[in-house]
């Protein structure tokens, strides 16, 4: 039977990396698929934007997990490596504290050596910790389910300095200090982002999203940009399709939301169709922190022999990460001294990331400039060339900006907060009350960042294809 132009096998709401990967697999399996994206480009948090001569990566700035975990298999399946060059920045991460500096290298043995030189008293513990991580799958224990990441670090190390140095990048990539972060998330993040981090596609992060969109279209998929979904159409038992904000309707057996979980259910589907227990569960869930991002375009490119472009540079000026989290969570920006800096691979721009609370639209309308200038002032203390006199362009993305472009609840950086009580997300990929409604992306998974959402995009597709073939 031929389908009419408004009929699809599956409609995906949102062209984030999770939605795109899911769409690619469904289209490759022979399904007729539509992706509707509100923004004028695909990618979600993995987009880039241009201002004058500068290209900035909007939020995602590199990724990890090509060697460990399922990312390599998925990129092979979709033949991504044949179309774009993805290289690994080495060192991927550099931690700078008031009294030391230590780097994560592509070769783990070098990373171990770097840490041993920086923390000679922890020599043996460092080796033990990294070996534990390398064999994480065998070492991960059911007993970790109630623990936080601090408990793991305490079982290896005694000095608070090394514990903070090792956890600050994990904090930056999860929005939680080790005392709040689930041991399980912390370990997974550490392994994927730090033992194997710093990957970057030639041409910028947008390239990755664009290639996925291309593969999706080559396999017969249809991508609508600047198309906001207003409603998921349902008869209370099954999904029937979606309605766009221009009231155009598209019908399908499956609707996959790559959009935020609360919005998907409460706004797009409608409260009346949600199972009470499920509604109760999602109402109590806590989202991850958002982030304030400073984008700086430079008059002269940075040629600093010390910091390679592309490395994530973590300024850990305050070893007390609980304190740092408290200030971030409450928006006490004056007191925040820990931040992450990233020099763009073309050396022409620099971005800074600071964990921040959502607040609200009005707050950021009133305070965005002030917070931006506050951080520009703080940057003066960073001993790298002379950024301040070299600024041609400055701009910031506030948590509200992130919300506006991606609709992520409270501008959350990583979906739900990775606290131990949120270790399990029951029925978040597929609920048990509306047939055909699936979710994908960072609101359904524990994996943070690009590796996490890529895997969940694949996993969601696998479930749908199984069901479709029946």
């Amino acid at each position: 039977m031929k389908m009419s132009s408004n009929e699809y096998d599956a409609v995906i709401i949102g062209a984030g990396i999770g939605g795109l990967v899911c769409g690619c697999y469904l289209a490759k399996a022979g399904m007729k698929v539509l992706i509707a994206e509100q923004h004028n480009k695909p990618g979600g948090y993995c987009t880039s934007f241009k201002r004058g001569n500068f290209t900035f990566d909007a939020a995602a700035h590199s990724f990890g997990g090509m060697r460990f975990g399922p990312l390599g298999k998925i990129f092979n399946d979709l033949k991504i490596n044949e179309r774009i060059n993805i290289y690994q920045c080495d060192p991927s991460d550099i931690i700078i504290t008031p009294d030391l500096q230590v780097s994560f290298n592509s070769d783990i043995n070098n990373t171990i050596k770097n840490f041993q030189e920086a923390f000679p008293n922890e020599n043996y513990n460092i080796e033990r910790f990294f070996n534990f991580l390398i064999n994480l799958e065998q070492n991960i224990s059911i007993s970790f389910r109630k623990n936080n990441f601090t408990k793991i670090l305490d079982s290896f190390f005694s000095s608070y300095k090394i514990k903070s140095a090792l956890s600050f990048p994990v904090f930056g990539n999860s929005g939680l200090p080790p005392s709040k972060l689930s041991a399980f998330f912390g370990l997974k993040l550490f392994k994927e982002f730090l033992l194997d981090g710093g990957y970057y596609p030639d041409g910028g992060m947008q390239t990755l999203a664009n290639i996925l969109a291309e593969i999706f279209k080559e396999n017969g998929g249809k991508l609508f940009l600047s198309s906001k979904v207003k409603k998921i159409i349902s008869d209370g038992k099954n999904v029937l399709g979606i309605k766009l904000s221009d009231n155009e309707q598209y019908f399908s057996k499956y609707v996959i939301s790559n959009c935020d979980m609360r919005q998907t259910y409460l706004k797009l589907l409608g409260k009346e169709f949600i199972d009470k227990a499920f509604l109760n569960t999602i109402s109590k869930m806590i989202p991850s922190l958002s982030v304030f991002i400073v984008y700086i375009g430079l008059k002269e490119p940075i040629y600093n022999n010390y910091f390679k472009p592309g490395s994530n540079i973590w300024y850990l000026l305050d070893y007390n990460l609980d304190n740092s989290y408290f200030n971030s969570k409450n928006g006490f920006f004056n007191d925040i001294n820990n931040l992450m800096m990233h020099i763009s691979p073309d050396r022409k721009s620099v971005t800074f990331f600071i964990n921040a609370p959502y607040k609200n639209k009005m707050y950021w309308n009133d305070n965005k400039k002030e917070v931006l200038n506050l951080f520009i002032n703080k940057i003066q203390n960073i001993p790298i060339d002379n950024i301040i006199d070299n600024i041609e362009f400055k701009e910031a993305a506030t948590p509200y900006t992130l919300f506006r472009y991606t609709s992520n609840y409270k501008g959350a950086s990583f979906g739900w907060a990775g606290i131990p009580s949120q270790l399990v997300l029951p029925g978040f990929i597929k609920n048990r009350f509306i047939n055909g409604l699936f979710m994908t992306g960072h609101w359904t998974t524990h994996g943070f960042g690009i590796p996490g959402v890529t895997y969940i995009g694949y996993e969601t597709a696998r479930r749908i294809i199984n069901n479709f073939k029946r």
């Binding site: 799958e137 991960i140 224990s141 059911i142 007993s143 970790f144 389910r145 399980f184 997974k188 270790l423 399990v424 029951p426 029925g427 990929i429 597929k430 048990r432 996993e459 696998r462 479930r463 199984n466 069901n467 029946r470």
Partner: protein
């Protein structure tokens, strides 16, 4: 007292949610690791979901003993019985 069949269906739903396999594919004697691709991480998810649902605390050393759905049902059934007494 909870009925064993009801318990089996509820635990089957949890395993289905975590593994992505449909209810019909999960038989009482299906090997969870080999046939449903449940790795150590998914095993943690299933354990936590069961603990939350039945308000019990599974002993760490009991988890590796769960090889099939029946093993999980027997373990939870036993714990609920003890709790009831």
């Amino acid at each position: 007292m909870i009925d064993k069949k009801v318990l089996e269906n509820e635990i089957k739903e949890i395993i289905s949610d975590v593994s992505g396999f449909d209810l019909e594919e999960i038989k009482p004697e299906t090997n969870l690791t080999n046939e449903l691709e449940i790795d150590s991480i998914k095993a943690i998810e299933i354990t936590v979901a069961i603990e939350k649902k039945y308000k019990i605390s599974v002993r760490d050393e009991d988890v590796p003993k769960i090889v099939t759905l029946t093993d999980a049902v027997e373990l939870v059934y036993g714990m609920l019985n003890q709790k009831g007494n």
